[in-house]
């Protein structure tokens, strides 16, 4: 099963689609979690995901705002999508009856 940081990367890459590359994924994770995402953690986790066959990476185009340096493009593979679905379902199942689950909170408000 995926770790939570692995899940964040796969989800961010899936949301960004064709524009998924390391810097954009980092931004997406920082915006979603409100925490700083270190380059070291991001790159080593992407390497691990690639080794597991859950993402595919390649060198993309260079742009002027990157100082003419190439991007590391990231694409989620079919196995990556399955692993993310598994993680999401497991989190959903385990949090079904906890007080902070959205539907549970809504039910308590109705009562």
């Amino acid at each position: 099963m995926l770790g939570e940081f692995e899940y964040l990367i796969i989800t961010a890459a899936a949301c960004l689609g064709e524009n998924a590359y390391s810097a954009a994924i980092r931004d997406e994770i920082e915006n979603a979690t409100g925490h700083k995402c270190s380059i070291g953690a991001l790159y080593t986790t992407v390497d691990r995901l690639e080794a597991k066959g859950l993402v595919r990476t390649w060198m993309g185009e260079a742009t002027p705002q990157r100082g003419g340096r190439a991007k590391r493009m990231i694409q989620v593979t079919a196995a990556g999508v399955r692993a993310a679905e598994q993680f999401y379902n497991a989190v959903n199942r385990v949090t079904r009856n906890v007080s902070w689950a959205p539907h549970r909170r809504a039910m308590e408000t109705c009562r």
Binding site: S22, A41, T44, R66, G67, A70
Partner: protein, 240 residues
């Protein structure tokens, strides 16, 4: 795009990353517009994480602590022995002005020189092959051993530099080991058999078997990896 002055340090530490990583990491940092201090810490963090991952394998430990350091001590001892033999055989011949006579001492000297070169070369090659990403640590431990011995060398008739006779062939082997993953099976077998044959005259010396085998196993390791991968040789730019 022109980078500010502090980026020089960032570029320096990024030099420790693989070329592909370096390109994308520096690009990401430029795009994020992070300060040079933050960028330095980010890249240093990645370098440390990468190194820690590499050191989780047994290979860097074997290359650095099982081969580079102990072999450096043993080869320095053997270098001094070769230098002393050379001094005794060639020096005596020249002093007596009797011309160039080939005797048993001279043959032994040639064997020892060949053995020193072969042990050093195969040791260097094996270090480069076993763990190319941690060659810096293997080289540092070898240099540490050299510094230790150079500081304690006390033989008046010999120069301290004779300790380092093993370094040129070892460095040549290391560079070739880093450039190509392995040598051909035939060549590896020839080197290993030659080394083993050259150690035969040393078998009579008591206690010589331990350094002999400690220095000969890299040659048989090269045979093992050559026989495991009989595919054509390929150039290895980076990675294990």
């Amino acid at each position: 795009m022109k980078f500010p002055n502090g980026w020089w340090w960032v570029e320096c530490i990024a030099g420790l990353l693989a070329p592909g990583d370096r390109e994308t990491v520096l690009g990401d940092l430029a795009e994020a517009g992070e300060s040079s201090g933050q960028s330095f810490l980010s890249v240093a963090g990645l370098v440390i994480r990468r190194q820690l991952l590499v050191w989780r394998s047994w290979r860097p430990w074997l290359a650095a602590f099982g081969l580079a350091m102990p072999a450096s001590f043993l080869l320095m001892g053997f270098s001094v022995s070769v230098a002393q033999n050379y001094h005794a055989v060639i020096g005596a011949t020249v002093a007596q002005a009797t011309g160039f006579k080939v005797g048993p001492g001279f043959t032994m000297l040639l064997c020892d020189i060949g053995l020193l070169a072969a042990w050093s070369w195969t040791g260097g090659f094996a270090v480069g092959t076993i763990s190319r990403r941690t060659t810096w640590m293997s080289a540092a431990l070898s240099l540490l051993a050299c510094t230790f011995c150079l500081a304690r060398f006390r033989i008046d008739s010999l120069s301290r530099l004779c300790l380092l006779l093993f370094l040129p062939p070892a460095a040549a082997g290391l560079f070739l080991g880093l450039r190509i993953a392995r040598i051909r099976l035939g060549a590896a077998l020839a080197v290993a058999i030659t080394i083993t044959a050259l150690t035969i005259p040393q078998w009579s010396k008591p206690g010589a078997w331990l350094p002999n085998w400690a220095l000969s196993w890299p040659a048989w390791y090269l045979v093992a990896i050559a026989s495991r991968h009989k595919a054509p040789l390929r150039s290895v730019m980076h990675g294990e």
